[in-house]
Symmetry: C2
Subunit: 457 residues, 2 copies
């Protein structure tokens, strides 16, 4: 057919700045509240956990923030990432839509996560820090941070949910190969962990518990260690905007501009990464792109959650944030897109939805795997289960174009490959994957446990 | 540092031809011999198993063979692949050498294998064929062929060594997601398989047995199915030369030309892919690049094998080939680089070594994993165990440069990533990997079972 497929940027076109959407939010973000006092946290409180430069970025209102050269040098190991037109998927769907995907799975750990891990590690090193503590579920974020810390000769202590630690050792071996130290959580290294192990020596752990352990380790380290988050916070989304900035240049190479931009959303970082620069183009340059967050029907934070104050973690130890939430005690069903099993949503993404600057849709995991297999059979790549949510939402829009006869231009973020998730594909093929209704009663129960915030009222 | 790292070709620079080294071999390849008669096989014998166009390519003496447009269109899903300068590895080694790597792990299945799988599937479809049968060990080749057959709407029947089928299901799920049908070998679908299962219903299988089953299925299918090889044969190496052709252009972008080119060698296809175009430059354009095949010390076909006639498979059912061999009954030790556990070597690679146009070195798997971890810690990517042999040989050359003070330019082929091989990295980290001496007695015994060829004498 000889129609252009790839739109690869040379390394000279690697962006020099990240885009900070704080500059363009209709109203400024509300401050995080202290989990005990429910009053705005002090910088001193936060600086125990975070490098100062990162706290500055969370608060900054500058639209453009320079990417440090040492970070760009490491980005070059896999960036600029490819943007391709999905000709074969279009033909399979018989859609007049033009479908493009930005592929973040070419990073050494197979996802977008290193975009922020490398930046966070740089700033910690720059301020004389020695090590990060963090949590990880199946290991996607932990492997990104372990790689990044290794590049800057920093320690990396990862608290990995015990059931994954035991059952899914492969990403643990990745983290350890990069020099990370990985501990099954709950562990006997923290008060939180010891307390749970006393109750149940075989406690399977959870992401919320692992966060609590990593935060405790950092907070009690006398400055030897800081805490690194993998999603949710403004600086994490800031660092991910390199995705959207590249995509804008690549769509220009393709001679098109997207009518629709789609990303999957759990904590919000890969969605923010592709979406925010296009939000800017809408706000500043009169573009009218629809921007859609795709989330799991089992954990529909944006489509069914409430925009209110809630704890960022599952146990009430982390700051309280104004965001869309299903209640911090809500335990999402065990879908295979572990990265999307989060009760809340990044405050910037929540604010954009509240201002009708973005949209959200929810999709079921069985439909997502069906779409992932179709993507693999047409475009080759079998996506990560999280990314399959974006694939499904894209296919739905492309089929709507088929029905209406419109040749819309759709761009989505393929945030990672599924190499470490093939067990889930096996279960899908065997017909063993569950469909999940919206867990209405569990959410209603969880929403009775919100913190009683009076700030700002 | 701001030194160029990436040398990415635009898709317009994707090669239009493969390079056929038959045109430049000092003496023509000797024909394959029939396994029973030990006389040259007839085209009729081979055409039962192979598409005609592929048989033509095996015999062709044309230097340039056009890559069909439908094959190039699929190549564009991941090609041109990146070529990077390994600045961080150079600094870690404190070597004056300039190290470059060509990275084939960006293909959807994570290795160079699809370069030939897609071509073979195209030719089969073009001749009206319906399906391929093949063998696979852990699944690297099988997943490439399953993807390629799916693209051309062909069936794909994969005989997978039973011990891998049972213990390593993840690549099986990849194959099945692409629509391949995967059978544990030995199976009850063939006379060869049934015979072995009668002896031992829990027979663990071997690559040689899986080859025998796939060949039997194709040979007895009355034309419904052909057999597809993943390495070794001339057309397989031909299709892989797209690697080296791209690399020549990319080294030109970097403003350098390699003094040394390195690839790992099992059956010979990724080595041939990177090496043959540089052999041509040596022969035709007065270049003096040293070209080195890196093989495992546990299966040192080129460095310790004999250049003679032997069966291409392990059981004496496949044609007899003039090549370097350790004896077709030799069972290599269980190293983790399963793709390099082969008693023979591609006849073109063997002929080049015999003519002193290339060199060979052997390296131990423990040293290879040590080098793979160093590569991951400096460049990010944790390589496939096979590729680690090339990494090790490269590091050895770079350290020789450090000793001599020479700033040589070294290029190696990073044939795939290790995402599906992390169990082996875990064993390496735990100190559980074995070193293997050259298995001298086993080879000596195997060499007593060579076929008694009189042809050409």
């Amino acid at each position: 057919m000889n129609m252009p497929t790839r739109f690869d940027l040379p390394e000279s076109e690697l962006p020099r700045t990240w885009y900070n959407i704080n500059a363009d939010l209709p109203t400024p973000l509300l401050p995080p509240l202290h989990p005990a006092t429910l009053e705005p946290v002090t910088p001193e409180f936060l600086s125990v956990l975070s490098p100062l430069k990162i706290l500055e970025q969370d608060m900054s209102a500058h639209a453009e923030i320079e990417i440090p050269d040492p970070v760009r040098d490491i980005y070059k190991l896999w960036r600029p990432t490819p943007l391709l037109r999905a000709h074969r998927l279009e033909r399979a769907l018989e859609t007049p839509a033009h479908i493009y995907y930005k592929y973040e799975g070419v990073s050494p750990v197979g996802s977008h996560k290193p975009n922020t891990a490398v930046a966070q590690a740089f700033y910690l090193k720059d301020e004389g820090g020695k090590a990060f503590a963090t949590e990880t579920g199946a290991g996607q974020w932990g492997s990104a941070l372990a790689m990044a810390c290794n590049f800057f000769d920093l320690g990396c202590e990862v608290y990995m949910v015990r059931v994954s630690f035991d059952q899914k050792p492969f990403r643990r071996f990745v983290m350890e190969s990069y020099g990370g130290s990985v501990h099954a959580s709950p562990s006997n290294r923290t008060a939180a962990g010891r307390s749970l192990l006393t109750e149940d020596s075989n406690h399977p752990g959870s992401l919320g518990i692992a966060i609590s352990e990593a935060v405790e380790v950092a907070a009690t380290s006398n400055g030897a260690m800081k805490y690194s988050p993998g999603s949710f916070l403004p600086h994490v989304l800031l660092h991910q905007t390199v995705i959207g900035e590249e995509a804008i240049k690549q769509m220009d190479m393709a001679g098109e501009y997207p009518d629709i931009v789609i990303g999957c959303a759990g904590g919000g970082s890969n969605f923010g990464g592709i979406a925010f620069p296009f939000v800017r183009e809408n706000l500043r340059h009169g573009k009218r792109t629809r921007i859609i967050a795709a989330e799991p029907s089992a954990c529909p934070t944006l489509t069914r959650g409430t925009y209110t104050w809630d704890f960022a973690d599952g146990t009430g130890m982390a700051p309280v944030i104004k965001m869309h939430t299903l209640g911090h005690t809500f335990v999402p069903p065990g879908i295979h897109a572990g990265g999307l099993r989060y009760h809340g949503m990044a405050p910037q993404v929540s604010a954009l939805l509240e201002s009708d600057l973005i949209e959200a849709v929810s999709v079921d995991q069985v439909d997502c795997f069906e779409s992932g297999v179709l993507f693999g059979r047409t475009e080759g790549i079998l996506p990560a289960p999280e990314s399959n949510h974006a694939v499904r939402a894209t296919i739905n829009e492309a089929l709507a174009c088929k029905a209406s006869g419109e040749a819309k231009v759709i761009l989505f973020n393929l945030s990672g490959h599924g190499n470490f998730d093939m067990a889930a594909y096996g279960r899908y093929a065997a017909g063993e994957l569950e469909r999940f209704e919206y867990p209405q009663e569990a959410v209603a129960e969880a929403m009775t446990h919100l913190p009683k915030v009076t700030f700002g009222s």
